[in-house]
Chain length 200, copies 2
Protein backbone atom coordinates (compact mmCIF):
# COMPACT_ATOMS: atom_id res chain seq x y z
CA UNK A 1 0.00 0.00 0.00
CA UNK A 2 1.20 3.46 -0.87
CA UNK A 3 1.01 6.14 1.82
CA UNK A 4 -0.57 9.57 1.34
CA UNK A 5 -0.13 12.10 4.13
CA UNK A 6 -2.82 14.71 4.90
CA UNK A 7 -1.27 17.77 6.55
CA UNK A 8 -4.65 19.49 6.81
CA UNK A 9 -8.29 18.46 6.73
CA UNK A 10 -8.99 17.78 3.06
CA UNK A 11 -12.56 17.59 1.75
CA UNK A 12 -13.97 14.13 1.01
CA UNK A 13 -14.46 15.11 -2.64
CA UNK A 14 -10.67 15.21 -2.94
CA UNK A 15 -9.69 12.18 -0.86
CA UNK A 16 -12.34 10.02 -2.57
CA UNK A 17 -10.25 10.22 -5.73
CA UNK A 18 -7.77 7.73 -4.25
CA UNK A 19 -8.35 4.01 -4.86
CA UNK A 20 -8.31 2.60 -1.30
CA UNK A 21 -6.97 -0.74 -2.56
CA UNK A 22 -3.78 1.04 -3.58
CA UNK A 23 -3.50 4.01 -1.19
CA UNK A 24 -3.74 4.57 2.55
CA UNK A 25 -4.50 8.16 3.59
CA UNK A 26 -3.63 9.38 7.08
CA UNK A 27 -2.28 12.36 8.97
CA UNK A 28 0.57 10.28 10.36
CA UNK A 29 1.74 8.44 7.23
CA UNK A 30 5.45 7.57 7.44
CA UNK A 31 7.61 8.17 4.40
CA UNK A 32 4.60 8.96 2.16
CA UNK A 33 4.73 9.03 -1.65
CA UNK A 34 2.33 11.99 -1.70
CA UNK A 35 1.29 14.84 0.57
CA UNK A 36 -1.97 16.81 0.48
CA UNK A 37 -1.77 20.21 2.15
CA UNK A 38 -3.82 23.36 2.62
CA UNK A 39 -2.24 25.99 4.85
CA UNK A 40 0.36 24.10 6.95
CA UNK A 41 3.86 25.47 6.56
CA UNK A 42 6.17 22.82 5.06
CA UNK A 43 9.33 24.89 5.09
CA UNK A 44 10.82 23.11 8.14
CA UNK A 45 9.73 19.60 7.10
CA UNK A 46 12.12 16.84 6.11
CA UNK A 47 11.00 14.98 2.99
CA UNK A 48 11.43 11.19 2.81
CA UNK A 49 12.93 9.39 -0.17
CA UNK A 50 9.53 8.05 -1.30
CA UNK A 51 7.99 11.49 -1.75
CA UNK A 52 7.00 12.09 -5.38
CA UNK A 53 4.43 14.85 -5.19
CA UNK A 54 2.85 17.55 -3.00
CA UNK A 55 -0.63 18.77 -3.90
CA UNK A 56 -1.99 21.99 -2.44
CA UNK A 57 -5.72 22.60 -2.07
CA UNK A 58 -5.46 26.30 -2.94
CA UNK A 59 -3.82 28.68 -5.39
CA UNK A 60 -0.67 29.99 -3.67
CA UNK A 61 2.36 27.81 -2.82
CA UNK A 62 4.10 30.09 -0.31
CA UNK A 63 3.84 27.41 2.41
CA UNK A 64 5.85 24.93 0.28
CA UNK A 65 9.67 25.04 -0.22
CA UNK A 66 9.48 24.98 -4.03
CA UNK A 67 13.21 25.25 -4.59
CA UNK A 68 14.05 22.30 -2.34
CA UNK A 69 11.26 20.26 -3.99
CA UNK A 70 12.66 21.07 -7.44
CA UNK A 71 16.15 19.94 -6.37
CA UNK A 72 14.77 16.62 -5.08
CA UNK A 73 12.47 16.08 -8.09
CA UNK A 74 9.28 16.40 -6.02
CA UNK A 75 6.41 17.66 -8.17
CA UNK A 76 4.29 20.43 -6.61
CA UNK A 77 0.68 20.85 -7.76
CA UNK A 78 -1.63 23.72 -6.86
CA UNK A 79 -5.30 24.20 -7.66
CA UNK A 80 -5.91 27.76 -8.90
CA UNK A 81 -9.53 28.74 -9.44
CA UNK A 82 -10.96 25.99 -7.24
CA UNK A 83 -12.35 28.53 -4.77
CA UNK A 84 -12.77 31.35 -7.31
CA UNK A 85 -16.55 31.54 -7.04
CA UNK A 86 -16.38 31.72 -3.24
CA UNK A 87 -13.88 34.58 -3.45
CA UNK A 88 -16.02 36.29 -6.11
CA UNK A 89 -19.02 36.21 -3.76
CA UNK A 90 -16.97 37.64 -0.88
CA UNK A 91 -15.64 40.39 -3.16
CA UNK A 92 -19.17 41.37 -4.22
CA UNK A 93 -20.18 41.29 -0.54
CA UNK A 94 -17.21 43.55 0.33
CA UNK A 95 -18.20 46.02 -2.41
CA UNK A 96 -21.78 46.24 -1.12
CA UNK A 97 -20.79 46.32 2.56
CA UNK A 98 -18.16 49.04 2.17
CA UNK A 99 -20.12 51.23 -0.25
CA UNK A 100 -22.96 51.67 2.25
CA UNK A 101 -21.13 51.09 5.55
CA UNK A 102 -23.50 48.19 6.26
CA UNK A 103 -21.48 46.93 9.25
CA UNK A 104 -21.60 50.44 10.74
CA UNK A 105 -25.36 50.39 10.19
CA UNK A 106 -25.76 47.03 11.91
CA UNK A 107 -23.69 48.19 14.90
CA UNK A 108 -25.69 51.43 15.07
CA UNK A 109 -29.00 49.53 14.97
CA UNK A 110 -27.81 47.18 17.72
CA UNK A 111 -26.87 50.21 19.86
CA UNK A 112 -30.51 51.40 19.81
CA UNK A 113 -31.61 48.27 21.69
CA UNK A 114 -33.73 49.05 24.75
CA UNK A 115 -33.98 52.79 24.03
CA UNK A 116 -37.33 54.55 24.29
CA UNK A 117 -38.93 55.63 21.01
CA UNK A 118 -36.77 53.36 18.86
CA UNK A 119 -38.98 53.98 15.80
CA UNK A 120 -38.30 57.72 15.89
CA UNK A 121 -34.56 57.27 16.53
CA UNK A 122 -34.29 54.89 13.56
CA UNK A 123 -36.26 57.21 11.29
CA UNK A 124 -33.90 60.04 12.20
CA UNK A 125 -30.62 58.11 12.16
CA UNK A 126 -31.01 55.83 9.17
CA UNK A 127 -30.12 58.51 6.61
CA UNK A 128 -26.49 58.32 7.81
CA UNK A 129 -26.34 54.94 6.07
CA UNK A 130 -27.88 55.91 2.73
CA UNK A 131 -24.55 55.26 0.92
CA UNK A 132 -24.25 55.08 -2.88
CA UNK A 133 -25.60 52.30 -5.07
CA UNK A 134 -23.14 50.26 -7.14
CA UNK A 135 -25.26 50.58 -10.28
CA UNK A 136 -23.87 53.12 -12.71
CA UNK A 137 -20.50 53.35 -10.92
CA UNK A 138 -17.23 52.21 -12.49
CA UNK A 139 -15.35 49.22 -11.08
CA UNK A 140 -11.69 48.82 -11.97
CA UNK A 141 -10.46 45.21 -11.86
CA UNK A 142 -6.70 44.65 -11.61
CA UNK A 143 -5.89 41.04 -12.47
CA UNK A 144 -8.34 39.13 -14.63
CA UNK A 145 -7.51 35.54 -13.70
CA UNK A 146 -9.88 32.96 -12.24
CA UNK A 147 -11.25 35.31 -9.56
CA UNK A 148 -10.91 38.73 -11.23
CA UNK A 149 -12.77 37.60 -14.36
CA UNK A 150 -15.71 36.29 -12.34
CA UNK A 151 -15.82 39.50 -10.27
CA UNK A 152 -15.80 41.60 -13.47
CA UNK A 153 -18.71 39.66 -14.98
CA UNK A 154 -20.73 39.70 -11.75
CA UNK A 155 -20.23 43.43 -11.23
CA UNK A 156 -21.34 44.11 -14.79
CA UNK A 157 -24.51 42.08 -14.25
CA UNK A 158 -25.21 44.22 -11.14
CA UNK A 159 -25.27 47.28 -13.40
CA UNK A 160 -21.71 48.56 -12.93
CA UNK A 161 -19.45 49.77 -15.72
CA UNK A 162 -16.35 47.58 -15.54
CA UNK A 163 -12.82 48.25 -16.78
CA UNK A 164 -10.04 45.73 -16.35
CA UNK A 165 -6.29 45.45 -16.73
CA UNK A 166 -4.06 42.38 -16.66
CA UNK A 167 -0.64 42.42 -18.36
CA UNK A 168 -0.50 38.60 -18.06
CA UNK A 169 -4.03 37.92 -19.37
CA UNK A 170 -4.40 34.46 -20.91
CA UNK A 171 -6.55 33.70 -23.95
CA UNK A 172 -8.66 31.38 -21.84
CA UNK A 173 -9.28 34.09 -19.21
CA UNK A 174 -10.08 36.68 -21.91
CA UNK A 175 -12.51 34.24 -23.50
CA UNK A 176 -14.51 33.93 -20.28
CA UNK A 177 -15.01 37.70 -19.91
CA UNK A 178 -18.26 39.40 -20.80
CA UNK A 179 -17.63 41.51 -23.90
CA UNK A 180 -19.03 44.47 -21.96
CA UNK A 181 -15.86 44.56 -19.83
CA UNK A 182 -13.66 47.38 -21.16
CA UNK A 183 -9.93 46.81 -21.49
CA UNK A 184 -7.82 49.48 -19.76
CA UNK A 185 -4.46 50.19 -21.33
CA UNK A 186 -2.64 50.36 -18.01
CA UNK A 187 -3.09 50.72 -14.26
CA UNK A 188 -3.08 54.54 -14.48
CA UNK A 189 -6.26 54.37 -16.56
CA UNK A 190 -7.83 52.19 -13.85
CA UNK A 191 -6.85 54.67 -11.12
CA UNK A 192 -8.19 57.62 -13.12
CA UNK A 193 -11.55 56.19 -14.19
CA UNK A 194 -12.69 53.92 -11.35
CA UNK A 195 -15.06 54.66 -8.47
CA UNK A 196 -14.07 51.32 -6.87
CA UNK A 197 -10.94 49.20 -7.45
CA UNK A 198 -10.52 45.48 -6.75
CA UNK A 199 -7.17 43.66 -6.95
CA UNK A 200 -6.85 39.94 -7.76
Amino acid sequence: MKQIQLLNKIDKIGTDEFDREKYTLSETAENPCGILVRSSSMHEMDFGDNLLAIARAGAGVNNIPIERCSEKGIVVFNSPGANANGVKELTIAALLISSRNIVGGINWANAQKGQAEVAKLVEKGKSKFAGPELRGKTLGVIGLGAVGGMVANAAYSLGMDVIGCDPYLTVSAAWSLSRAIIRAENYDEIYAKSDYITIH
Copy 2:
Protein backbone atom coordinates in the same frame (compact mmCIF):
# COMPACT_ATOMS: atom_id res chain seq x y z
CA MET B 1 -47.77 81.94 -6.75
CA LYS B 2 -48.94 78.50 -5.79
CA GLN B 3 -47.59 76.99 -2.58
CA ILE B 4 -46.00 73.54 -2.29
CA GLN B 5 -45.23 72.25 1.18
CA LEU B 6 -42.23 69.97 1.84
CA LEU B 7 -42.84 67.83 4.92
CA ASN B 8 -39.45 66.13 4.56
CA LYS B 9 -36.16 66.84 2.84
CA ILE B 10 -36.83 66.07 -0.83
CA ASP B 11 -33.99 65.57 -3.29
CA LYS B 12 -33.22 68.43 -5.69
CA ILE B 13 -33.95 66.16 -8.65
CA GLY B 14 -37.60 66.17 -7.53
CA THR B 15 -38.03 69.79 -6.48
CA ASP B 16 -36.32 71.03 -9.68
CA GLU B 17 -39.38 69.80 -11.59
CA PHE B 18 -41.38 72.79 -10.35
CA ASP B 19 -41.36 76.00 -12.42
CA ARG B 20 -40.27 78.61 -9.85
CA GLU B 21 -42.25 81.32 -11.70
CA LYS B 22 -45.42 79.45 -10.77
CA TYR B 23 -44.62 77.62 -7.54
CA THR B 24 -43.02 78.44 -4.20
CA LEU B 25 -41.67 75.45 -2.26
CA SER B 26 -41.14 75.64 1.49
CA GLU B 27 -41.51 73.67 4.69
CA THR B 28 -43.83 76.26 6.14
CA ALA B 29 -46.18 76.89 3.19
CA GLU B 30 -49.63 77.99 4.35
CA ASN B 31 -52.66 76.45 2.71
CA PRO B 32 -50.56 74.72 0.01
CA CYS B 33 -52.02 73.24 -3.19
CA GLY B 34 -49.58 70.34 -3.00
CA ILE B 35 -47.57 68.47 -0.38
CA LEU B 36 -44.38 66.43 -0.89
CA VAL B 37 -43.69 63.90 1.84
CA ARG B 38 -41.37 61.02 2.67
CA SER B 39 -41.84 59.50 6.10
CA SER B 40 -43.69 62.18 8.15
CA SER B 41 -46.99 60.96 9.57
CA MET B 42 -49.88 63.00 8.11
CA HIS B 43 -52.68 61.28 10.03
CA GLU B 44 -53.11 64.14 12.51
CA MET B 45 -52.74 66.94 9.94
CA ASP B 46 -55.54 69.29 8.94
CA PHE B 47 -55.77 69.80 5.20
CA GLY B 48 -56.53 73.27 3.82
CA ASP B 49 -59.13 73.95 1.12
CA ASN B 50 -56.47 74.56 -1.55
CA LEU B 51 -54.90 71.11 -1.23
CA LEU B 52 -55.21 69.18 -4.50
CA ALA B 53 -52.53 66.53 -4.24
CA ILE B 54 -50.06 64.75 -1.94
CA ALA B 55 -47.01 63.06 -3.48
CA ARG B 56 -44.97 60.56 -1.54
CA ALA B 57 -41.29 59.89 -2.32
CA GLY B 58 -41.57 56.15 -1.62
CA ALA B 59 -43.76 53.15 -2.29
CA GLY B 60 -46.00 52.76 0.79
CA VAL B 61 -48.69 55.26 1.79
CA ASN B 62 -49.24 54.18 5.40
CA ASN B 63 -48.27 57.64 6.68
CA ILE B 64 -51.08 59.27 4.67
CA PRO B 65 -54.82 59.21 5.62
CA ILE B 66 -55.96 57.85 2.24
CA GLU B 67 -59.63 57.60 3.19
CA ARG B 68 -59.87 61.21 4.37
CA CYS B 69 -58.02 62.35 1.21
CA SER B 70 -60.47 60.41 -0.96
CA GLU B 71 -63.44 62.03 0.78
CA LYS B 72 -61.99 65.50 0.19
CA GLY B 73 -60.94 64.78 -3.40
CA ILE B 74 -57.22 65.07 -2.66
CA VAL B 75 -55.18 62.94 -5.06
CA VAL B 76 -52.43 60.82 -3.46
CA PHE B 77 -49.44 59.80 -5.58
CA ASN B 78 -46.72 57.34 -4.59
CA SER B 79 -43.52 56.40 -6.40
CA PRO B 80 -43.13 52.61 -6.38
CA GLY B 81 -39.88 51.28 -7.81
CA ALA B 82 -37.96 54.52 -7.41
CA ASN B 83 -35.58 52.95 -4.89
CA ALA B 84 -35.90 49.39 -6.25
CA ASN B 85 -32.28 49.05 -7.31
CA GLY B 86 -31.03 50.26 -3.91
CA VAL B 87 -33.24 47.68 -2.17
CA LYS B 88 -32.09 44.99 -4.62
CA GLU B 89 -28.45 45.70 -3.73
CA LEU B 90 -29.21 45.54 0.00
CA THR B 91 -31.09 42.26 -0.50
CA ILE B 92 -28.13 40.71 -2.34
CA ALA B 93 -25.86 42.02 0.43
CA ALA B 94 -28.13 40.44 3.06
CA LEU B 95 -28.05 37.09 1.22
CA LEU B 96 -24.24 37.09 1.10
CA ILE B 97 -23.81 38.39 4.67
CA SER B 98 -26.21 35.90 6.25
CA SER B 99 -25.10 32.88 4.24
CA ARG B 100 -21.52 33.15 5.51
CA ASN B 101 -22.06 34.98 8.81
CA ILE B 102 -19.81 37.76 7.52
CA VAL B 103 -20.67 40.14 10.39
CA GLY B 104 -19.79 37.39 12.88
CA GLY B 105 -16.51 36.97 11.02
CA ILE B 106 -15.73 40.70 11.16
CA ASN B 107 -16.48 40.83 14.89
CA TRP B 108 -14.34 37.73 15.46
CA ALA B 109 -11.44 39.23 13.48
CA ASN B 110 -11.69 42.49 15.46
CA ALA B 111 -11.56 40.49 18.72
CA GLN B 112 -8.11 39.10 17.78
CA LYS B 113 -6.61 42.61 17.87
CA GLY B 114 -3.47 42.82 19.99
CA GLN B 115 -3.26 39.06 20.63
CA ALA B 116 0.07 37.28 20.27
CA GLU B 117 0.41 34.97 17.23
CA VAL B 118 -2.53 36.48 15.38
CA ALA B 119 -1.56 34.67 12.16
CA LYS B 120 -1.91 31.26 13.85
CA LEU B 121 -5.17 32.18 15.59
CA VAL B 122 -6.68 33.37 12.29
CA GLU B 123 -5.51 30.25 10.45
CA LYS B 124 -7.19 28.10 13.09
CA GLY B 125 -10.38 30.11 13.57
CA LYS B 126 -11.27 31.17 10.04
CA SER B 127 -12.84 27.82 9.11
CA LYS B 128 -15.79 28.69 11.41
CA PHE B 129 -16.79 31.22 8.75
CA ALA B 130 -16.51 29.00 5.67
CA GLY B 131 -20.30 29.22 5.08
CA PRO B 132 -21.98 28.04 1.86
CA GLU B 133 -21.70 29.78 -1.51
CA LEU B 134 -24.87 31.11 -3.13
CA ARG B 135 -24.04 29.54 -6.50
CA GLY B 136 -26.05 26.42 -7.17
CA LYS B 137 -28.49 27.09 -4.31
CA THR B 138 -32.18 27.81 -4.88
CA LEU B 139 -33.62 31.23 -4.05
CA GLY B 140 -37.39 31.54 -3.62
CA VAL B 141 -38.74 35.02 -4.37
CA ILE B 142 -42.16 35.90 -2.99
CA GLY B 143 -43.50 38.98 -4.71
CA LEU B 144 -42.14 39.85 -8.15
CA GLY B 145 -42.84 43.59 -8.31
CA ALA B 146 -40.29 46.35 -8.87
CA VAL B 147 -37.87 45.01 -6.22
CA GLY B 148 -38.54 41.24 -6.31
CA GLY B 149 -38.05 41.05 -10.06
CA MET B 150 -34.67 42.80 -9.87
CA VAL B 151 -33.58 40.54 -6.99
CA ALA B 152 -34.61 37.44 -8.98
CA ASN B 153 -32.61 38.52 -12.04
CA ALA B 154 -29.54 39.49 -9.97
CA ALA B 155 -29.56 36.22 -8.01
CA TYR B 156 -29.77 34.25 -11.24
CA SER B 157 -26.78 36.12 -12.65
CA LEU B 158 -24.84 35.17 -9.48
CA GLY B 159 -25.41 31.51 -10.35
CA MET B 160 -28.46 30.73 -8.20
CA ASP B 161 -31.50 28.77 -9.34
CA VAL B 162 -34.44 31.10 -8.82
CA ILE B 163 -38.12 30.27 -8.38
CA GLY B 164 -40.73 32.96 -7.90
CA CYS B 165 -44.37 33.34 -6.96
CA ASP B 166 -46.63 36.37 -7.19
CA PRO B 167 -50.41 35.98 -7.39
CA TYR B 168 -50.71 39.64 -8.45
CA LEU B 169 -47.96 39.58 -11.09
CA THR B 170 -48.42 42.21 -13.78
CA VAL B 171 -47.58 41.70 -17.45
CA SER B 172 -45.02 44.47 -17.22
CA ALA B 173 -43.29 42.84 -14.23
CA ALA B 174 -43.36 39.41 -15.91
CA TRP B 175 -41.84 40.94 -19.03
CA SER B 176 -38.84 42.26 -17.11
CA LEU B 177 -37.97 38.84 -15.63
CA SER B 178 -35.14 36.71 -16.99
CA ARG B 179 -36.71 33.68 -18.67
CA ALA B 180 -34.51 31.51 -16.45
CA ILE B 181 -36.67 32.41 -13.42
CA ILE B 182 -39.00 29.47 -12.77
CA ARG B 183 -42.63 30.14 -11.90
CA ALA B 184 -43.75 28.41 -8.69
CA GLU B 185 -47.40 27.41 -8.56
CA ASN B 186 -47.88 28.57 -4.98
CA TYR B 187 -46.05 29.54 -1.79
CA ASP B 188 -45.88 25.90 -0.62
CA GLU B 189 -43.70 25.10 -3.63
CA ILE B 190 -41.41 27.99 -2.64
CA TYR B 191 -41.15 26.72 0.95
CA ALA B 192 -40.42 23.16 -0.21
CA LYS B 193 -37.80 23.88 -2.85
CA SER B 194 -35.86 26.94 -1.63
CA ASP B 195 -32.55 27.11 0.24
CA TYR B 196 -33.14 30.86 0.79
CA ILE B 197 -36.40 32.85 0.67
CA THR B 198 -36.80 36.58 0.11
CA ILE B 199 -40.11 38.45 0.50
CA HIS B 200 -40.97 41.64 -1.43
